[in-house]
């Protein structure tokens, strides 16, 4: 294991700190920006989208780190990955009540059938999370369960973000 860590450290330290592009890319980026007018005014990203999208990225990054390190260093890194992942998950769970409230608010304008499907799928994801967590209490060091749990939280955060994004269409509001 320490041999692997040493190899990884040496490989990382040999990487260049930054890479200069072969030419100045800014003029072409600038030209592209100037060529792209905004026809439709996109709604500003809502709190749900920002929050959920942030978690999608965080969990994805944790899952990637976990997968890469798992492949090269096996069990010793599982502790690191789990701790790192747990922090992200704990943060996500702390914000979940607020996400749920916003989710319910967002889907209120949808047809009842679609709303029911969304609620039932969110419930499916949470059932899956609970089942994996129950599995982890019996098998705390199982790397497959850690990986699936991280991925399921990511799917849940993705669902919440998607619901927000899909509201780019102006849904007719019910008369109060």
């Amino acid at each position: 294991m320490s041999n692997n860590t040493g190899k990884l450290d040496r490989a990382l330290s040999s990487l260049p700190r930054d890479i200069e592009p072969s030419r100045d890319l800014w003029p072409s980026i600038r030209a592209n920006l100037d060529r792209t007018p905004e026809t439709t005014r996109r709604p500003a990203l809502g709190t749900t989208t920002k929050l959920a999208a942030g978690f999608v990225l965080l969990v994805a990054s944790c899952a990637t780190t976990y997968w890469i390190t798992r492949a090269s260093m096996q069990s010793a890194t599982a502790t690191f990955a789990t701790t790192d992942g747990n922090a992200v998950i704990a943060e996500y769970l702390r914000s979940r009540a607020e996400l749920d409230r916003l989710f319910a608010e967002r889907i209120a304008a949808l047809p009842p059938k679609t709303r029911a499907k969304l609620e039932s799928n969110l419930a499916d994801l949470r059932r899956a999370e609970n089942e994996i967590v129950a599995g982890l209490t019996r098998n705390p060091s199982d790397p497959l369960l850690h990986e699936l749990l991280m991925s399921t939280y990511q799917s849940e955060a993705q669902l919440l973000a998607d619901v927000s994004e899909i509201f780019a269409v102006d849904l007719p509001r019910k008369k109060s």
Partner: protein, 300 residues
């Protein structure tokens, strides 16, 4: 009984003709860039979009009387077609649109319950729906489709001697995903929709499902990487052509059925977890599958 049915039919016919009488017929035309961008927004009804050779966008259709108006706006090389509804109305009035756009346009759609049918649009596509189905063809451009409960069906249209579409991303919550004749790079996500995918020459696939089943039939490029993950859904692969791949399959409670020969083994002597690792050919490509409860099947 028969007369009751006749009366109901008559009432339905009268109601239908009354509704049609209220529908406004629309027809619009605007010059367009041959490789420009077209965005279509419609809440309910239907959207049919087809590519043509003219540098022009043409819209025809009918709008329910609850629809406020149809906007068709051009800004540079972008054209927006939007069905506008009164903001205070509770029910979504329908608009049925038939749209022709330049074949190489980049297309963006956004609908709620309106179904989308798209033919012969060869530029990049970014399609989104809440409960409406999406039925489209994909060519060589980038492809993205997303829906909540609507089904998504994509037919690849590249020729046999050419690698199929570039990057394809499809995401649903409960809608089913059907993909035929697509390849190169796939990223598929669903919570409970079933996925039936037929691909050619895959180079990379990343597929995740919670409760939906996946059936993937594909051939692989030499250094392909295919990853699939499920919680309760079943994952079944049927491989075409020469197989030169390393397989790494792991499930917590599911079963593994392998037509290639090697048998799976228990990870722990006492406890759940089954693993199957083997090589077919020289093992250049990578196939990696993880499930919690879902069964896994590998065949050729």
């Amino acid at each position: 009984m028969k007369s009751a049915v006749k009366i109901i039919n008559a009432i339905a016919a009268v109601a239908l003709s009354a509704a049609q009488a209220h529908a406004e017929v629309v027809e619009r035309r605007v010059d367009a860039d041959a490789r420009g961008e077209v965005e279509v927004v419609n809440v309910a009804g239907s959207v049919r979009i087809s590519g043509w050779e003219r540098a022009e966008v043409h819209v025809s259709g009918n709008l329910d009387n609850g629809v406020e108006r149809l906007d068709m706006l051009r800004d540079g090389n972008r054209i927006l077609i939007k069905v506008v509804l009164p903001s205070d109305r509770g029910n979504a009035a329908k608009a049925n649109l038939d749209i022709q756009i330049p074949r190489d346009s980049k297309l963006t759609t956004n609908t709620v319950s309106a179904d989308q049918a798209i033919l012969d649009v060869r530029g990049a596509q970014r399609l989104q729906s809440v409960s409406g189905d999406i039925d489209t063809e994909a060519w060589d451009g980038e492809f993205r489709a997303k829906s909540v409960s609507g089904d998504i069906s994509v037919q690849g249209q590249t020729s046999k001697d050419k690698l199929s579409v570039g990057q394809v991303r499809v995401n649903t919550v409960s809608g089913d995903i059907t993909i035929d004749n697509l390849g190169n790079e796939l990223e598929l996500r669903t919570v409970s929709g079933d996925m039936n995918v037929s691909a050619r020459n895959l180079s990379r696939a990343n597929i995740k499902t919670t409760n939906g089943d996946l059936h993937l039939t594909t051939s692989m490029q030499r250094d392909a990487s295919i990853e699939a993950e499920a919680i309760n859904g079943e994952i079944n692969f049927d491989f075409d052509g020469t197989i030169d791949a390393s397989f790494d399959i792991e499930t917590f409670n599911g079963k593994i059925d392998n037509c290639f020969g090697p048998k799976s083994k228990q990870i722990h002597e006492h406890g759940p977890g089954t693993q199957l690792r083997f090589k077919e050919g020289e093992g250049h490509a990578q196939v990696r599958v993880k499930t919690l409860n879902g069964d896994v099947g590998l065949c050729k």
